[in-house]
């Protein structure tokens, strides 16, 4: 906090003003990044710097009794309460010695336009503690304020969405209790009233009870199925499909025995995915085959293809699917039959589709009515290598040409496989920006920064000059990481957001178009701090969308060693808009 003591004796009071206005001449605060103004105990302005003039949009007269506490701009609280200057924060500092720390107020110019300023006010005291004036250090935080407000909105929205989901879960479980309650009561009623006799009414009761129970069971199963479909890529592993199929058959045991079904299974290979989810695919497909069948079900599970992806077929001798329903079959809660013919809520194939999409696989079918249906589904045989096809699904695949084009809201990432292979892309990206007269932010490690400088120099760029004129701003990524970690992981997002915002606003002030190369995330990855990397990319991605600049991020493939790490790069990829081919 600021505290000002002016070495002055009360007897020399009249000299205070003189000395304070000496400040005006010495320009002490002119290089200060904030606006500063001071007043004496009457509220007459004794000092202001150039930034203050900029924010006020006028140059006040010093020691003018008509301009007490800067009456030329009106102040309002953030909720638009007018604050008369003589009752304002400066007056409170002068009269009551009150300190104001980081208070935001609206300042209205004579033309009616408003800015948000953040003020820090302290009383100025003489040696004996008497208040002889006050100092106000203030900044224009309009843009920041607005961003914070929008972030707050986003947060509230997220919170609201989470609450909505919780509400939904509550309602679902609540709704489940209802039919079960009715069913159990009817069964009790039945027991009490009709123990020995069974007439039409009793049969009605039985039906009601059975239907309610079934409905509850369906709802419960659907809910569970949905929950099973949600989940993380990090639970993926090499799955023995025979084992997944075995699990499904075990769950279907009762129906298989009841229908006297014949099930023939080939020896299946392994695939990369979530065993429980793949088992659920088998269960849904075989369950359908058992259900939609007028004769003894004969079901064959076989390997159709083993090259690259694993494609499995599930063939039945059931009623078949009318080809006109081809696109509808996989829609959620889509049913092709009435409840009387074939019960169910129509969720099974929708769940299959969702699961296979998560696996970056697919599901489809061939069918001829009355002869039967073959459902096929494909799964990756192995975890996709990072430079492989797994990533473009999430971010738009792009060509390196993108690096040359003028900055627009885009968040480009590239994975590099050898320690130096990414340098050309980065230098291309930076050089294009310099040539287009854009501002450049480089958030990189010191060694990499030196490499870039050398490469740019070879392209005849005067790097020293570019840095001196702040056309290129370099921030040491390792240092920033250390600082951020030192401030605590809990505050990481908050702190990082503030740093990036400052950086962007500073750059934007001078360069309407700018681009950034960011390596902090790669540094996090190198230290195994994948969570921080994902969080940091989320922050960047928000800013890219908001401030319309291009951000290029490079990731060293070797940092992603385990399956878990690879799953995180998928998360990272989701926070980018464009993905370049790996280098």
């Amino acid at each position: 906090m600021l505290s000002f003591a002016v070495k002055q004796k009360p007897a020399q009071h009249h000299n205070n003003d003189m000395n304070l206005s000496l400040l005006q001449q010495t320009n002490l605060f002119d290089s200060f990044p904030s606006a500063v103004y001071m007043c004496d105990s009457q509220g007459q302005i004794t000092y202001f710097n150039q930034r203050a003039v900029m924010l006020w949009r006028r140059t006040p007269r010093l020691l003018d009794p008509k301009e007490l506490f800067c009456p030329f701009s009106k102040a309002y609280t953030l909720d638009d309460q007018y604050m008369p200057r003589e009752q304002g924060l400066m007056a409170a500092a002068v009269r009551e010695g009150r300190v104001a720390k980081d208070i935001r107020v609206k300042q209205e110019h004579p033309d009616g336009s408003q800015i948000i300023v953040q003020v820090n006010i302290s009383p100025i005291k003489d040696e004996e503690g008497r208040i002889i004036g006050a100092i106000n250090i203030f900044q224009d935080v309009t843009e920041q304020h607005e961003l914070e407000k929008s972030l707050q909105l986003v947060n509230e929205e997220l919170k609201w969405n989470t609450e909505e989901l919780e509400q939904l879960a509550y309602c679902a479980s609540h709704d489940l209790r209802e039919p079960l309650r009715v069913a159990s009561m009817y069964i009790q009623l039945l027991e009490r009233k009709y123990q020995n006799v069974l007439d039409g009414e009793a049969i009605d009761y039985i039906n009601t009870a059975v239907k309610s129970c079934e409905r509850a069971k369906d709802l419960l199963n659907d809910l569970l199925a949905y929950n099973r479909v949600r989940g993380k890529y990090s639970s993926f592993a090499q799955v023995d499909l025979n084992k997944a199929l075995g699990k499904a058959l075990l769950d279907l045991k009762a129906e298989i025995i009841q229908k006297k079904a014949v099930i023939i299974c080939e020896d299946l290979p392994s695939a990369f995915g979530d065993e429980n989810k793949i088992s659920l695919v088998f269960q849904n497909l075989i369950g359908n085959a058992l259900k939609f069948c007028l004769r003894t079900p004969e079901i064959r599970v076989f390997v159709k293809d083993h090259e690259g992806d694993v494609t499995i077929g599930v063939q039945d001798n059931g009623i078949g699917i009318d080809p006109s329903y081809k696109s509808k079959v996989f829609e959620i809660f889509q049913r092709l039959h009435s409840d009387e013919d074939y019960s169910g809520s129509g969720i099974g194939l929708a769940v299959c589709k969702k699961i296979l999409e998560q696996h970056r696989g697919a599901v489809w079918f061939e069918s001829s009515p009355s002869k039967g249906t073959i459902f096929y589904f494909s799964l990756p045989a192995q975890p996709a290598a990072i430079k492989d096809t797994i990533l473009p699904v999430l971010a738009r695949a792009a060509s390196e040409e993108l690096l040359n084009t003028p900055s627009d809201s885009r968040h480009i990432m590239q994975v590099y496989n050898s320690p130096h292979s990414y340098r050309d892309s980065v230098v291309k990206f930076l050089a294009a920006g310099i040539e287009k007269d854009e501002g450049i932010i480089v958030l990189a490690t010191q060694p990499h920064w030196e490499e870039f400088q050398a490469s740019l120099a070879r392209k005849n760029f005067d790097v020293t000059m570019l840095v001196k004129t702040q056309k290129i701003r370099f921030i040491d990524a390792e240092g920033l990481r250390r600082d951020l970690l030192a401030q605590g992981k809990e505050q990481f997002v908050e702190n990082f957001t503030a740093i990036v915002l400052d950086l962007i606003l500073e750059t934007r002030r001078v360069f309407p178009k700018f681009r950034a190369f960011g390596e902090l995330v790669d540094v996090f990855c190198a230290h195994g701090e994948m969570d921080m990397a994902v969080e940091a990319e989320k922050v960047w991605d928000q800013f890219v969308k908001r401030y319309d600049f291009a951000l290029f991020c490079a990731y060293f493939a070797a940092n992603f060693k385990s399956n878990e790490d690879q799953s995180r790069i998928v998360d990272i990829c989701q926070n980018h808009s464009h993905l370049l081919p790996a280098s």
Binding site: H174, R177, E178, R181, V182, S184, M185, Y186, Q188, L189, R192, K193, T208, S212
Partner: protein
């Protein structure tokens, strides 16, 4: 003694009727399916010109058209009806729902029992308290 049951769920209607039968309560039960019907019944309008004067109302909260809360407000803001005790039956255990109903003037808030014997017990209690013990405004 005339009791009006406002309940849209046919299954619950039957349960209530059976429970009253089993508890051998000396009363006349009338059934309506929603809040709109309830108000017509109580005001003797629409299809309910000849409806009897009701002494006690059993009101489900979760109703189609005008829901239980709205119906409660309709009853308790009507000078000709507000003297009739209303017992709300609901599955909701949320404090907000409960408090809201009392604020709106309900005479008792009761969670729907989940087995039949409990419904019969409840009807016995209604019989002992609301039918045999409590004194009502004379018609």
């Amino acid at each position: 003694m005339n009791i009006l049951i406002v309940e849209d769920n046919k299954a619950d209607q039957v349960i209530m009727q059976e429970a009253f039968k089993e508890a051998k309560v000396n009363c006349q039960l009338s059934l309506v399916n929603d809040g709109v019907e309830a108000m017509e019944f109580l005001n003797r309008t629409g299809n309910f010109h000849a409806s009897p004067k009701i002494d006690l109302i059993l009101l489900d909260l979760n109703l189609p058209k005008r829901n239980g809360r709205e119906t409660l407000v309709d009853i308790k803001s009507n000078t000709k009806l507000k003297h009739i005790p209303v017992l709300v039956f609901s599955n909701s255990e949320s404090p907000q729902d409960i408090c809201q109903c009392y604020t709106l003037g309900v005479n008792a808030y009761i969670n729907k029992p989940s087995d039949f014997q409990a419904v019969v017990n409840l009807v016995h209690i209604i019989d002992t308290f609301w039918i045999k013990l409590v004194r009502y405004c004379p018609h």
